[in-house]
């Protein structure tokens, strides 16, 4: 057993976990954050993507003890209170989800993708960068649409903020 201490969605949490415990299981079982899902055993599907110190990580590829000391954001912590994150809002507006199982990982991966491309995104880039996230319901059509729309919204937001700062 090892002690695990993390910042999760802005809250300090700690607990003991078997050494073999994956981060995803620690989040789901120890912390009750069941929004992060497990869809495969081989780090292919991306249903478990969370942000670890600002980067998208498949939480099934990381041991909980490895993440100790990190700051983590899960799907439960993405919205600002009642205000949806622009990526969440875009997934709803553009029908980027059906059964909802891959959705948390998709949204976390998409948020990271948009953050890494401040220059903006095009369809080909979005499709290429979604390589690590599998959806069986939507055929990706509306997921791609939602990510492109969110990318535009977030760019506008960033510009607005830059103007305010100036």
């Amino acid at each position: 057993m090892s002690d695990v201490s993390l910042m999760v969605n802005g809250r300090r949490v700690s607990g003991a976990a078997e050494d073999r415990t994956l981060l995803v299981h620690f989040l789901r079982e120890n912390l009750g954050l069941t929004g992060t899902h497990v869809g495969c055993d081989t780090s292919q599907c991306g249903a478990c993507v969370v942000h670890v110190d600002g980067k998208a990580v498949k939480s099934c590829t990381m041991l909980a003890v490895q993440a100790s000391g990190s700051s983590i954001v899960t799907i439960e912590g993405l919205a600002n209170g009642a205000d949806l994150h622009p990526v969440q809002a875009a997934f709803k507006e553009h029908h980027g989800l059906q059964c909802g199982f891959c959705t948390p990982g998709m949204i976390m991966a998409a948020t990271d993708m948009i953050n890494r491309h401040p220059e903006g995104l095009d369809e080909a880039t979005v499709r290429a960068e979604l390589e690590g996230n599998i959806c069986r319901c939507t055929g990706y059509h509306n997921i791609v649409k939602a990510i492109l729309a969110a990318s535009k919204t977030m760019a506008k937001g960033a510009k607005g903020k830059a103007k305010q700062a100036a």
Partner: protein, 782 residues
């Protein structure tokens, strides 16, 4: 149409919980004292069980129980059944071999469950499962249906000689043979429909909880039809009587058919919970899903299509061998028969059809309905054959199809179905226009300049949905009726709960069903709750599959709404001192037509429950129930056109354009309907280009993870151009046909027709993966 009514693109109500991580799937459920199960599965495709030694496992840390099939049988738990009886053409019933939830003396496929271990943690359960010692005597295995029928093939079930389950036929053999004999041209093909794994993103899971105090069981399960699960587990598997068994299917992460069936694991979790005295949860990992979820397709067919000298089809003869795997899954028998051969007329006027279908046991996972279920197999066979015929006859594929279209309705085919409405020419025209079919030659030439092979292919599909009149399916062998139920509860303040037997696992029922209520009563959709997926809340229902929730499920709701409306109008007429016949519902109020006299909806509801001033003799309350049994199947149809570019050096195929023109009848929410089509097309393109379940000759599944089984990813697909036309379905009150499966049905032949067109070859196997395409290009050159 109001902004939330029928026909409006309303964003989904259910999305809020899914996009914030608040969805509740079975694996998210925790009950006090809950422990974890792991299954010991057969590593052999075919073997006798000589000995099971659980001693070492029982002594492992955290282990609560290690249970075998012998104990399960001793407790009277029944075998799994197939619920649709098919008779062979000689009149004999199908040969159903025994399927014990835990194998007792023989295993028949890799993944067959043998022992269950219950332990404190999932990790401990798995560790202990590794310590169970089972001695097997390996037997020869057979994985291909054609080989399983050969003399001397391994005998899988004692009940089914030569592994033949049934040998069934439909149609007029004599008339069809005569048509072929007299034909000016006959197109002959061998058609293989590859085996697929449905792969809902949420793996199957079950949580069984036996409550000793109440002598009552609760099962949380990843099911498309919790009521059917309760019925079957109660009536056939002796888990518990229905009044002692509650089945809950909460949020379910996709189904595509694979979550219709009642699998061994949910039965075992319930039984093990009583046996061990703790709630027992099992969640499949992905490899377990690959091994043990029901697979789809796997047909091998030959077809002969006869034409007269004017290129009109005069006859169609089909011989199909369908692989049903190691055991007969719940609806496995109806898929290659009544859901397949009855659609072999397609969109065409064919005077004579005969189909023979043999179903076969093999040492592979059970095969059952997967999105489309029989109809993709029929469409693939017909549309590949039409394409080949057009090329052989030297005519345009579009015009050959158009010439043979059924144009007047109702149309009785020679294979049971009576098509009620359609306009196949309209879909063909729409698809050709949207794809700029006329401009293809230019695009092909431009691609050739870049060294790419460009091809175009179409597919005109029809399907039968909204299954079906209960008496009709009963006469064809179904063990259940296929109606749907609804209950509409208007609360005293006017908010509404709709209880439905349909189950939503991605289809958006919480939104579309509420839109229907909004359309009728003007109540905002946020004031309408759709309740489903719990046998304690909804009395009975048949669930969601076969694109039936709109055509059948919503028709039941519509019928219940009719009854609520009638009573509400009576109350309003009484309150307004008007004639009942003069009351209309507009903008959330009941009005006397042509006047400004009105009473708001919520006041009518309140009046129903205060019961201070109701018409003489009227019971208080405003709640109505309806059961709706369809009068016919519905017949969605459409035309899909696919354009591909192939890189000849690598064999890589890119779908550069995909157009879908569908006729789904009336549509409640176009946004959701388009989403269903997108998803279906992706699965169809997946089948054509990427996906295939492969067993080696010894019966080991070689494609048992996402490292081996190629799921379509975003980069494998284009954005799709979809549109709809509308010939309303005359068979149900809403004019709905259903849209859930069309994409997966119509798309594979369009893709393969495009690839064969690009390369200039007659046929190519699915999945047309890069090595297959590369080899085909090489072979075509030499």
């Amino acid at each position: 149409m109001g902004i939330e009514g029928v026909g409006a693109r309303v964003a989904r109500k259910e999305d809020k919980r899914f996009i914030t991580g608040a969805g509740r799937y079975v694996d998210d459920m925790v009950v006090p004292g809950m422990k974890h199960a792991a299954f010991v599965r057969s590593p052999h495709a075919h073997a006798q069980i000589k000995k099971i030694d659980v001693k070492r496992a029982q002594a492992m840390p955290g282990v609560i129980g290690v249970l075998t099939g012998k104990e399960l049988k001793a407790d009277g738990i029944g075998n799994l059944i197939c619920g649709w009886m098919i008779h062979s053409k000689d009149g004999s019933p199908m040969k159903m071999g025994a399927w014990s939830p835990l194998a007792v003396d023989k295993v028949r496929y890799v993944g067959d469950a043998v022992v269950v271990v219950v332990a404190e943690t999932k990790g401990q359960a798995r560790d202990a499962a590794e310590a169970v010692e089972i001695t097997y005597k390996e037997l020869k295995a057979v994985v291909e249906a054609t080989k399983a029928l050969e003399k001397g093939a391994p005998q899988i079930h004692a009940e089914a000689e030569n592994n033949l389950i049934f040998d069934w036929e439909i149609g007029d053999a004599k008339a069809t043979d005569a048509a072929i004999k007299a034909a000016a041209h006959v197109t002959r093909m061998k058609i293989v429909n590859n085996r697929l794994v449905p792969n809902a993103m949420e793996p199957r899971a079950a949580l069984g909880h036996y409550d000793k105090a109440e002598d009552h069981y609760t099962c949380w399960t990843t099911s498309q039809n919790p009521h059917v699960a309760r019925l079957v587990m109660s009536a056939f598997y002796n888990v518990a009587p229905e009044n002692k068994l509650r089945v809950i299917a909460p949020d379910v992460g996709g189904g595509f058919g694979s979550k219709i069936y009642i699998y061994p694991e949910e039965i075992v979790c319930l039984w093990a919970s009583k046996k061990t005295g703790v709630p027992v949860k099992w969640v499949a990992d992905r490899t377990e899903s690959f091994l043990s979820d029901a697979h789809g397709r796997d047909h091998v067919s030959t077809v002969e299509m006869a034409f007269d000298k004017n290129n009109r089809i005069t006859g169609l003869k089909v011989d199909t061998i369908a692989n049903l795997g190691a055991y007969m899954s719940l609806f496995s028998s109806c898929v290659p028969t009544y859901l397949y051969a009855t659609l072999l007329s397609g969109q065409y006027d064919i005077p004579a059809i005969h189909a023979n279908v043999r179903t076969v046991y093999t040492n592979t996972a059970p095969v059952d309905a997967y999105r489309g279920a029989g109809r993709p197999e029929a469409t693939y066979l017909l549309e590949r054959t039409m394409e080949a015929a057009a090329r052989e006859l030297g005519v345009s594929p579009a015009e050959l199809r158009r010439k043979n279209f059924i144009t007047s309705f109702p149309h009785q085919t020679p294979v049971i179905m009576n098509y009620d409405a359609g306009d196949y020419g309209a879909s063909l025209d729409a698809a050709m226009k949207a794809s700029d079919y006329a401009g293809f030659a230019k695009r092909k030439a431009a691609a050739a300049k870049k060294g790419l092979l460009r091809g175009i292919g179409m597919s005109c599909y029809i399907e039968a949905c909204g299954i079906a009149p209960s008496a009709a399916v009963g006469s064809l062998g179904a063990g259940v009726g296929l109606w749907e139920s609804a209950e509409v509860r208007v609360n005293a303040v006017g908010t509404i709960e709709v209880l439905t037997g349909s189950h939503s696992h991605g289809q958006g029922h919480e939104t579309t069903f509420a839109q229907l209520v909004n359309q009728r009563f003007g109540v905002p959709i946020d004031s309408v709750s759709i309740v489903h997926g719990d046998t304690d809340k909804v009395q009975m229902g048949m669930g969601t599959y076969g694109s039936r929730s709109g055509a059948v499920g919503m028709s039941a709701i519509s019928k219940a709404l009719d009854k609520v409306e009638a009573k509400a109008k009576k109350i309003a007429a009484h309150l307004l001192e008007a004639d009942e016949g003069d009351i209309v519902i507009e903008n959330g109020a009941l009005k006397v037509a042509g006047t400004d006299k009105n009473v708001p909806w919520f006041q009518v509801a309140l009046a129903a429950y205060t019961a201070h001033n109701l018409p003489a003799g009227m019971e208080p309350g405003l709640k109505e129930t309806a059961f709706y049994d369809p009068s016919n199947f519905t017949f969605p149809a459409g035309c899909y056109i696919c354009e591909v570019e192939i890189e000849p050096e690598t064999g890589t195929t890119e779908v550069v354009q995909f157009v879908a023109a569908d006729d789904f009848g009336n549509i409640i929410n176009p946004m959701i309907v388009e989403g269903q089509v997108h998803g279906g097309i992706a699965q169809g393109i997946g089948q054509a280009l990427l996906e295939g379940a492969h067993y080696d000759a010894s019966g080991q599944l070689l494609t048992a993870s996402y490292m081996d089984y190629t799921m379509p990813r975003a980069g494998d697909l284009p954005s799709f151009k979809v549109s709809t036309s509308n010939t309303p379905c005359p068979g149900n009150p809403l004019g709905i046909k259903g849209c859930g499966e069309a994409g997966a049905i119509g798309s594979p032949p369009a893709v393969i027709n495009a690839i064969t067109d690009a390369i200039g070859i007659a046929d190519i196997a699915m999945p047309a993966s890069p090595p297959t395409v590369w080899a085909a290009i090489r072979a075509a050159k030499h």
